[in-house]
Symmetry: C2
Subunit: 500 residues, 2 copies
Amino acid sequence: MEEKLRALKDELAVYMDLYYASAVLGWDQETNMPPGGAQARADQGATLSELAHRRITDDKVGRLLDDLKAYEESLDYDSDDASLIRITRREYEKRVKVPAELVAEIARAGALGIEAWKEARTKSEFSLFESALQKLIDLKMQYAECFAPYENIYDPLLDEFEPGVDYAQISAVFAGLKPELVKLVAAIGENLDAVDDGPVRGEFTDESQMAFGRIIAKDLGFDFERGRLDLSAHPFTTGFSHDDVRITTRTLQDFLPSCLMSIIHETGHALYEQGSNPAYYRTILAGGASMAIHESQSRFWENIIGRSRPFWEHYHPLLIEHFPQLEGVDRETFYRAINKSYPSFIRVEADEVTYGLHIILRFELENDLFNGRVKVGELPDVWNARFEEYLGIVPPDDAMGVLQDVHWSQALFGYFPDYLLGSIFSVQLWNKLKEELPGAVDQVRAGKFDEILGWHRQKVHRHGTKFTLPELSERAVGGPLDWQPYMNYLNAKFGELYGL
Amino acid sequence: MEEKLRALKDELAVYMDLYYASAVLGWDQETNMPPGGAQARADQGATLSELAHRRITDDKVGRLLDDLKAYEESLDYDSDDASLIRITRREYEKRVKVPAELVAEIARAGALGIEAWKEARTKSEFSLFESALQKLIDLKMQYAECFAPYENIYDPLLDEFEPGVDYAQISAVFAGLKPELVKLVAAIGENLDAVDDGPVRGEFTDESQMAFGRIIAKDLGFDFERGRLDLSAHPFTTGFSHDDVRITTRTLQDFLPSCLMSIIHETGHALYEQGSNPAYYRTILAGGASMAIHESQSRFWENIIGRSRPFWEHYHPLLIEHFPQLEGVDRETFYRAINKSYPSFIRVEADEVTYGLHIILRFELENDLFNGRVKVGELPDVWNARFEEYLGIVPPDDAMGVLQDVHWSQALFGYFPDYLLGSIFSVQLWNKLKEELPGAVDQVRAGKFDEILGWHRQKVHRHGTKFTLPELSERAVGGPLDWQPYMNYLNAKFGELYGL
């Protein structure tokens, strides 16, 4: 078995190298590539994706998995070897259903789509993105069809980011949460002026924002010897091994929290990737398990830590140092300002309460798109109509509406719900963490994060891709995903802020 | 035949995508990669190199080449189809001799070697680079052995950069040139104070240097929509298609010509790459033909144009705008300053006269290394001894001596002679250009470069990789490579400068 396992690992090493090389190409496209490079980059990405796909769906892999079946079953489910074989099998069985040419086509369309999206968003003209988006949706429809019969054509797309979690399950979670969110938004709406975000609006230089964000990322545990922070149109995290993890952000000169909270959010993703077990390097166990688990990490650091009073007890003086114009803004005023809740247009700038509605809108819309109930050409109107229904406001243009997110341009349909599932899970993790590490809040107050990070390393990071969200949830917090603690957290935090 | 040719092009497209993807990884390593990323980058590069190698040495390619033989012979030698088949055959026959594992090993050792070199150069400690260099030489020895029997083990290495040109041929050229260079260096040496480079020594900010260089690159024809300019430890050019060509430079705050001339040099390479025929994209005909031809382009723009009086007639006012401290330095004084000739340590900063000796030293040393006459451990001493013999000065440390160039750390043995061959050829091109475009010098004087670039596009760039140096030389200047015009150019230029 030793030898078969070695052979499987050799195949995976090449697969992972190709995957990481694609990620380098993607990072470069977002941060450095000149406009002319788009077509060649699309071709290169398509080729790498196709070769990676061919590698993991090779008959040799299928045979090795068969040969290793008995060995896998003889092992503890949680063990490295059993998990490596299990996760490889899951990927093999999923990918073997999809033609390599389609994989290449989707990669190519994604690389070109992002350029079309950038232009469309800059000019706020949906029509400039429409044909690229139509093509992406057609291709992802073909992709989903490979998995027929399915209960919902949206399920195979969701499964790409959240293995083993389908539309019905997510719907059930959101169905419980949605009315509670609507109720809280309404209650806050009646007391909107209780919190003022004027202090974080003004004029903030890019340099100060980046310098301040860099210090915080480092304090939280981001290792700049094994990563970078850069600018891009849309903040993201990517990695080319646990030892080279890149995060990006963007700056708004008139709204301080945007850059800062993006950096903390992406740092959360990066800590997860940098915390991957080095022994898993070049195996399929390396990296993060699922996007909801990834978002549990990013949303944990962004919101539960970064938007908390204890955090700003420590960082308020450094804030004033970097932004002397905030001299007169005391700690509490600043804390309140970065937590003002109100209906706004941009998801990544949204407060914690309205955030969930941004996600549920996208989740429902994607489901309607792929089930043919909404056409691509109708998207701007449908977006605006639903936005008004959910948040009571109408985007002034498409850049502030349907064009705001990068995801669809890269063929990432089915990703959005994971932001909310991750937010929900982050609160369960935090509650458990406080139980097991009673001094956690005081540590945040002291600007000490190593034990909190260590807890996440132990409970989440070290497992790599071993477990699905339900499996990891059992192991980390002793029960399934549960939206109630999340809602309790929001009600408590915002009830206090708004005197509800 | 249509169908076979299509099939061959499909194989080449994947090969080229892998080649370009490797180049993206290499560029990122030099410009952006955090230190931790080295091991993973080495693995990724090794995998891409191995897959590219396997692609072009696949039996399928061999069979297609056999099937296409008669078709190729029915065509004009210079035609696109015949050239595509011929160059593919040349690559196939060369690469099929080398095991894929060795290709991967060399790529891996090169990616790790560059990190070892960076540290060694920074600390000026050859011992930190020694074991990486030993490994690289051992691997390249194995590589060369794949081509036995050879006349000289150095030949297969030279052939990588200059197809069809071997040690004996290059030796013959250098044997003619060397005594002439030595004579000119000696003559200048007796009149060293005739030219003063004091004016270009001082304090020059990075920002001004880069801003000025950027304008010049653009004026020469570098298309920033299809390329970038960045900083790296050692200036270089790379490309990921004709539409995405990256150049880098470095700045010395106390010596103005370094950054500026590097930018012009790399712009020369980039113009060649950006000028590749778009119809050759994703075929083996895309890009530059050989490194000597590449250097004929870079050295042409750097020296013949960038270090000429007419050039500075146009740029002197802009120079003063960017560097007000040079207000009192008139055009002629500046022209003389950037052409001061004297024995110096660093090849890339060397004047045109001594430059050739820097190259000949390396050429002879590489030949001795691979023929076992010099051991790796002896390199610093041998370097310093020969440097004193050739240039009359002894490097004060290894960073200024044997560690100065990046090439060996990336397994690029056999590249150096191409700088001098290219310099020689650049003068033949210039002489021919002036014949066919009598207003060329006046155009330089007016800061107009489009016709000069157009001539190079027509004579050199549009051919892509079709021709070897001897073939291209016949077609572009109507005769073989000839060092005499180069020596005449140097004697005339420096004779006048030094009143010889």
